[in-house]
Amino acid sequence: MATGKEIRVALAGNPNCGKSSLFNGLTGSHQKVGNFSGVTIEKHEGYVDYRGYRIRFVDLPGTYSLTPYSPEELVTRKYLIEEAPDIVVNVLEGPNIERNLLLTTQLMEMGVDLLVALNMYDEVVARGIEIDVKQLQLLLGCHIIPTSAKKKQGFDALLDHIVRVHEGDIEIRKNKLGFRQEIEGAIDGIAEQLAGEPALSGFNPYWLAVKLLENDREVYTLVKEYPVWVKVEIALQLAIREAEAVYKSDPEIIITEDRYAFIRGAMQECVRMPREERASLTDRIDRIVLNRVLGLPIFFFIVWLIFHMTFTLGTPLMEGLDFLFGGIAAAVSPHLANETLRSVIVDGIIAGVGGVLIFLPNIVLLFLGLSFLEASGYMARAAFVVDKVMHRFGLHGKSFIPMITGFGCSIPAIMATRTLKSRSDRLATIMIIPFMSCGAKLPVYILLAGAFFEPAVAANVMFGIYMLGVAIGLVSALVMKKTVLKSDSEPFVMELPPYRWPTLGSVFLQSNIKAMMYVRKAGTVILLAVLLIWVVSNYPRNPAIDAALERRIASIELGDAPEALKKASIVEAEHHANADQLEYSIAGRAGKLMEPLIRPLGFDWRIGVALVTGLAAKEVVVSTMGTIYSLGEADETSPELKTILRNDPSFDQATALSLMVFVLLYIPCVAAIGVMKKEVGNWQAILFYSVYAMGVAWVFSFLTYRLAQLLA
């Protein structure tokens, strides 16, 4: 398609105005997701072919305003200025048109080609709200198209308008709202000076002047670069002094007040709200859900429900996938004659990547649940309910859900921190998520607690481990926020959006996106890491061990034991050889090298090896121990492994406890580290985190070990 026939359209609107539903409805399956450059805010792009044009939509992050205090606002504004889309469609939430108009007044000022989509129009009609669209159109100076994303109404009219605006068929009058005289005078004066500065010719001087009066940091730093600043600064000071003298206020407040005054006027002229007799549905639900007594229990019930759903539905699927990968491995291996190649592909790639991909059902289910909570409007309530506790630890109410998600798997949890706007809140939350014991650590606890404690005690031990993780996480957050992550805590001034029944499509789309991100990760970073761990636990090879194994097998076969016994002896010999080979490998040597370091925790080199390979995935700790103890395939339920551990003189209750604590606290699997890096954006933070987590793990394991020995 010719590039000239393309129209680039940006969708802007408040959060919860139905913008994303509109975007999904318009673009259907022609979507892709990336990140806005330099930030981890998702960028949704899509297109629709209409009347010979390819109309490309970008769904900008939802914002209430274009004064950049949050990353979303900054991204939206930057995009509008730097990418200069052909047309900006401002999506308004019809039933709450009044407060949505603040953004509209700011868009009008920017001088972009504006179209207004009056969304949720079906609801406007149903609730008996009368909007005089024609009159409002006159006031705003741009065309208004009633739409309903949910009922797919008004799409053609919207696309039609976009094309007609693009072709110049519709002229958009660039209306401005009038500020009070003193401010208007100041704006004009400053704008005139700015217009004389050639370096700023790419910007609308009127808009720059308004932003300067609004005390906008970004625009300040921009204008300060140029000589015109000397004159502008004087004019600004003057305006501020005048505002103080006349109104006992400052331009920033006056401008916002005048915007709202304009909006109030427009509302009086164009909108008739019916008198609402009954409390709204949202209010009635909130009376129960946010009740002082019931609020917390309901919250915990909902969290429990999501977890329960994730793991009861996810586990069979997970087992199915596990079975599938086992099948693939079994099908592939006979076709690979070369022993090394077979080992790389089967034990390395298939087992490694499979081990990561089997979590996919859990991740998808968890995100289905979370997307549902988000789209329905409960997520903001969850933050409201727990904010007080979280705030005590220097976190934000919105940190709670990602933290809880961490009990399932750190990866979706880390991705879920994207709802946090303050960078320091977000970093702190990301760094404590791995302390929430994820599902992969459970096999380790089951094996160790099961081997060394009575069943009743074992459950308490495991519960204690989980609680220790939560406690260390919260205290860590507090410490970090007081030291390295000082500064900008996000204020808790947020909208609790009205409850809505989410559209199925958008909920699925959201979880799909997250799942794809995870799969892509598994295909790249994780694949590499898994291969690396395969190499270090298989190389260098010791030919002496292979030769010894062959001699042993030969001598067993020559012996006169019954056939079944011979087979068992051969398997045992192979397991011994594998264990010897692992000891000889880089991982084994690393384990031995580490031994002095981990000796105080009660660990010998064999546990060291398991901790190294555990970086691939925490469950691998168990299977590695199986290999080291010459058992071959082993999992947490193997009675043999439990017996061997119990009979090992270097292993006792204190060691088991210490190991559980260490596995809980030390750095998570490579997949989680990879996602962490992606979300945080730099390696310094990851390095800091790794050192911190290892330090905490060592100290607490040491304390656990010594205490347990004292008490035993």
Binding site: E98, I253, T256, D286, R292, V293, V385, H391, V493, E495
Partner: protein, 94 residues
Amino acid sequence: MLLSELKVGDKAEVEGLLAESAVRRRILDMGLVKGTRFKVLRVAPLGDPVEIFFKGMYLSLRKNEAAGVLVRKIGEARDGAPMGGARRRWRFGS
């Protein structure tokens, strides 16, 4: 008086802002400008934040952010209960 001093059920009008920088901007952007009338709907189960209602919007703010909003009371809560009506019987946190 300050928004944080109102009781659940009270109605009030915004008179001005004491809050600064980011919080102030945020409050302005959410529409709590001079003359805006609102009602205090409830407090969270643990006593903080509070939720207010105005112009079809449910807004929640922490008490220390609510302390940055100057208000004039224009309507009393019917039962005159202190902020968080249930507090007399239920005391979570502090």
